[in-house]
Symmetry: none
Subunit: 211 residues, 4 copies
């Protein structure tokens, strides 16, 4: 009687709860990114989210659990597999530029969350493991498969696949890190990064006979 339209039940209540949870995570990302996880107090987060201190504990088990929440949300930003497989047919370099664009954009989107998370990823084993699995390993596997296939098709130079993939991945993390450090040249040239990245990386992957 109260919810005949079972499709989207409880609607109101439920939606408010979800919104509030998101608001808290937004606040956590902003506050942690701004002053660092330890410098930030739960009250800082609560104030920015415009809730009472205690309310946060209705949604998260602990201050630390907010980081887990951010990590989960970050994982939701990840998709690429779709593009990747369909792009396998197209020209490799074009694909790389597109993929780089995609990554670079995501970094921009998620930068705040990454700034909030990364320092703790170094330090908390639980976070480290989750981050590695969700954020690094999955992508590494995809890239390895792609690279291997390209090499077998003769479209790329035979290289040490696992290490090369790590280097490319590492480069993204490293660029993010330099951005966070406030490196001027990188910030002003940010939109040219994908092209430069492709030039650096891809041309090096060309089979010798390309010339």
């Amino acid at each position: 009687m109260s919810d005949t339209a079972q499709g989207q039940p409880i609607s109101r209540r439920e939606r408010l709860k979800r919104e509030r949870k998101e608001r808290i995570l937004d606040a956590a990302a902003a506050v942690f990114a701004g002053k660092g996880f330890h410098q930030a107090t739960v009250r800082d987060v609560a104030e920015l989210a415009d809730v009472a201190d205690g309310t946060i504990y209705n949604y998260f088990d602990s201050k630390f659990d907010l980081l887990i929440g951010l990590l989960a949300r970050l994982a939701r930003l990840e998709t690429l597999p779709g593009e990747l497989t369909e792009a396998l047919q197209s020209d490799a370099r074009d694909f790389f530029v597109a993929a780089f664009h995609d990554r670079i954009e995501r970094i921009e989107q998620g930068e705040e969350m990454l700034r909030a998370l990364l320092p703790q990823v170094f330090v908390r084993p639980e976070l480290r493991e989750r981050f590695y699995q969700q954020y690094v390993q999955r992508i590494a596997t995809l890239l390895e498969q792609y690279l291997q296939a390209q090499i077998e098709l003769g479209r790329m130079r035979p290289v040490n696949v696992p290490l090369t993939v790590r280097m490319v991945q590492g480069m993204f993390v490293g660029l993010l890190f330099l951005r966070i450090l406030g490196d001027e040249p990188l910030q002003s040239g940010w939109e040219d990064v994908p092209e430069a990245l492709a030039t650096l990386v891809f041309d090096g992957l060309n089979p010798e006979d390309r010339e």
Copy 2:
């Protein structure tokens, strides 16, 4: 040799002090790397260094100042300019492999200190700035000059110099990061990294006519 020729008065007292300071920094690096700066207590450091809590404050102004101390010590590990300039003449690829070897080794040496420092570098403006200047900018400038020169000599493909340099630097940070994350393939293939790195980066820098 370094002791006697110094003007004499350093002896005993002075050397003990210096040793003790180093012991404290060793302990700080180990403890901070192990549990993170905030999880670690000054007492943890004191105990590992085998001194009393208060003693640390005879050598450092604050807990945070220990990080500054580590940063300074890290800077002392940096030299390359010497090699770099002399190697400018030699074959570029050979130079790169050598330089990469050097960097990779240093990362290993300094990994503990970097693990202690990096998370805080994200978070403390003062540390960020020092780190950027001592550890990033100086090297970036050198690499830019070198790259520019090579390009002008026609030995390298004309690329976006500042961005390319950032990518290479970023890769080192990124690789360190992946190592800290515990990435298996990277750890087991660590000694092959310089060669793979050179293959990836350098071949991509070749002028087209090289072939």
Copy 3:
């Protein structure tokens, strides 16, 4: 009998309310006895009573008020006056054994509630006073009168009446306490307590010439 003769309008609604209140008190007794008043949360009580947190506040003013409720309910378990007065005529020792049996049983019945209450009785003046009046003083007065009468009839040794009554009462509390402490001999010999109690107390009250 108690239901129909009441004037009718009690039905349903009213009875449900009363039942619910009892259910909440049952839960409170169980929870407080199990973990102690402060360790127990209102939510613990609510969950065991199968109501929402807020519902409890429709029946009780505060968490503390639950204790008052338990005390009131405990008082309802008390009656003895009836037996006492009628037994005044019978043989004193027989009366004592019967009375002890009665008390010992009550202790068993009310043990959970007493475990919930006693610790707070020590600590909360309001509770202390109510408990003393309802649970101690009334009975003390009765016992004093009885003892005084017996003495005057020459059936008991002339003793310090008020103190002796306190000792007997105290013994009940003390035995309950030892039971709660988990004393093995007391628990396994519990059904023999009335007889042993009578032997100890009553024989000591005999006039010397009785033998």
Copy 4:
């Protein structure tokens, strides 16, 4: 060299520490007895002991640990075995009066600590067990042996030894409890308690042939 007079070493420092620990326990007893363990804050204790909040944690692991400390101190007040064994020879009734006097006095001495402890003894298993072993069981065993011996010597009526001992012990606890409840007759007649207690208990223990 620094402490040749090994007899009372480190003296100063060590004694100050011990004194401070006692001062904290004094304060804890007073505060917990006054408002109850949970109503009292660590700060209350600290203020009364005239130390900083944190100082308490240099001496005790937690707030709860203060109770353990009180229990330990209470145990130190206990001795009787000495008297007990030597008094085994003397007249039993005289011994009882003396022993009762002793107990009653101790209760007065330790009342504050007992008021602080008892409510929590009901509620904390760890405390309950310690209290039972240190404070009840030891004495129960002694009394049982004594009583048994007296019975075998024909000086006391053969009774259920374990239960009778529990009753006597329980009476002490119960009297303390009534005292805490503020019972007027008990308080004003407190000094007569040992005599009344002996009359009640001991005469009941007389063999029938005593007359």
